[in-house]
């Protein structure tokens, strides 16, 4: 289990003026979109702006769980020459510059299996670089034995998913297998499409939270702004927001400093609750 990650998720939860406990924030960025120097600046900005952790996306050629915006970001990052080794080097640079923000590497299986020499080797390498855990969207618990063992050995967190199509038994098992947090996908579908968290979803999240027991609960897919984060208040521990930030960073363009400003503004707005 990643101690730093758990502590950060706890510390990142804030009370809204209404008294409601808002979830901590976990922005997602595609590593190397706009170049790794930009991503490095963004990581520092996210930390300063109060994110609890970051989902650092390792770009892959065939991201089957991602919508068009994150697909395009991965394509740009690959065109810019981003490699698995380069992303680990980015993590190392962030740590040696004093960055303390917990980093979860979001990767499809193949860049780990082929690019980093297998799940065990990937875990050893991520731990050595200073990362905190893995999120692997195409690795269900059934196939994750090797990665789980290696993460346990290296003190990294694991994250598995709960979706509206998952049975209670699967959700319970996924929570048990997750030493980082349980990742609830609040609606069926790929990343990017917008959603409002209607009462049905919130009821479902409350059930997932019961099933998850002590495992922290994160919610992702469709969290685009402070209003969405506020709507999740009291229903989960961590709110993950990806597509909106990746788009904002790309649309803004510019230098690493410009990117850092966009990341800061985005995170601040997310944390500010409903506008």
């Amino acid at each position: 289990m990643s101690q730093r990650l758990q502590a950060s998720i706890r510390a990142g939860q804030r009370h809204a003026p209404s008294g409601q406990l808002l979830p901590a924030l976990a922005p997602y960025v595609t590593a190397g979109d706009g170049g790794l120097d930009r991503t490095l600046a963004v990581l520092h900005a996210l930390e300063s702006a109060g994110a609890a952790c970051v989902e650092l996306g390792l770009p892959f050629s065939d991201p089957i769980a991602d919508g068009p915006h994150l697909q395009a970001a991965a394509e740009r990052a690959l065109e810019a020459g981003t490699t698995p080794a380069g992303v680990l080097e980015l993590v190392r640079r962030f740590r040696s510059a004093g960055g303390a923000l917990p980093i979860l590497l979001f990767s499809y299986t193949n860049p780990l299996f082929v690019g980093l020499g297998g799940f065990s080797a990937a875990a050893a390498a991520l731990a050595a670089a200073g990362g905190d855990g893995f999120i692997v969207p195409d690795l269900p618990p059934e196939e994750a034995g090797e990665l789980r063992d290696a993460c346990a050995e290296h003190g990294l967190g694991t994250v598995f998913f709960a979706t509206p199509t998952s049975s209670d038994a699967r959700i319970r098992a996924a929570a048990e297998a997750s030493t980082g947090f349980l990742y609830a996908i609040g609606r069926v579908g790929i990343t990017g499409a917008r959603t409002t968290f209607d009462p049905e979803v919130l009821t479902w999240l409350d059930r997932v939270r019961d099933l998850a027991g002590e495992t922290p609960l994160a919610v992702g897919f469709g969290v685009a702004d402070g209003a969405a984060v506020a709507a999740l208040g009291g229903h989960c521990d961590l709110a993950i927001s990806g597509t909106a930030l990746v788009r904002a960073l790309h649309d803004a363009g510019g230098t690493p400093e410009d990117a850092a400003r966009v990341a800061t503004a985005f995170t601040t707005a997310l944390g500010a609750g409903a506008p």
């Binding site: 089957i64 299996f113 195409d138 618990p141 059934e142 979706t163 996924a174 069926v188």
Partner: protein, 396 residues
Amino acid sequence: MSTFQLPTRFGRFGGCYAPETLMANLVELEAAFVHAGQDESYAAEFARLLGEFAGRPTPLFEARRLSEHLGVEVWLKREDLLHTGAHKLNNAIGQALLARRMGKTRILAETGAGQHGVATATVCALLGLECVVYMGALDVERQRPNVERMRLLGARVVAVQSGQRTLKDAVNEAMRAWVGDPEAHYLLGSALGPHPFPTVVGSCHEVIGAEARAQWRARVGGSPDAVVACVGGGSNAIGLFRKFIPDAEVELVGVEAGGLGDGPGQHAARWVGGREGILHGCRTLVLADSDGQVEGTHSISAGLDYPAVGPEHAHLADTGRARYERASDDEALEGFRLLARLEGILPALESSHALGWVVRERECLAGQRVLIGLSGRGDKDLASVLPRLAAEEESA
């Protein structure tokens, strides 16, 4: 965790590397498949449609003029004569019946050459199911007639603009669509993808080899020396091979797309440039770079233009039970030309790879009795073939 009832792997290959959103569907599909296997009414309905609707059994044909020309005794298993013109219909019927058992009313499918899309659209019309077919935009261009056929059959064809705009990208998009629409059934068109697809698709096509083996015994006697089939994802090949696997005297040869040459991006030959990896839900051989990024592919035939191979083939190669060779674009065209001129059959460009390999290897195969899986007919390929053959004839 014992999520599944059946083995999910072939040796170390296969497995179920799928997003959580799809796990419930995959479990449901496996359960329906297991249950159908114990239900005589499913087997009877499948057999009825394969017979009355699709036209099974397909003939085993002795290609006498080709045999004489090559000095190799060539027999063809005529899946090109199946309704809709390719083996793909076996799987489309089998899975659509499973979908109906599961109470699904909407079918999603990917297609490369368009044959699987046409087969799926056909069965959906037959069974009254809604049908959406994802097809790479490049393939939409090079397989026009099949796009028109799908539309006439009532299917919606979505041109996929991402990536290389071919079969791999169509699979990506169909999987994304399924993640967003788990009420639908994804009718995957080859023996690949997450468990249970490789098992289900292979089993729907087993009829090819079962018929061919019985026909061979009755008509020719004994066993063929070699059984040869083209391998894209590997469905026609696994369907032809499976019943011959226990016949140790029969050599099994899969032929993949050698394209223009051995350089990266020039072919779709997984046993030349591939490595073990994970793509589209299964562990298998994948054309990927050392970072794990999937590489571009090239083949004159859209149906073989795919960077991974069904996991059962990876296992058959690993154990030495089958071997995998390649035929280039030019060799496939030569196979096409010879079959047209000598036997009056226009083969699909996919199937032409199996022919082209036998033509190239005729000296090694001299005097042998070879069974070739003729997986489909070539009408759909005329737009690709005509300019190439015309150019060759001019320069000759």
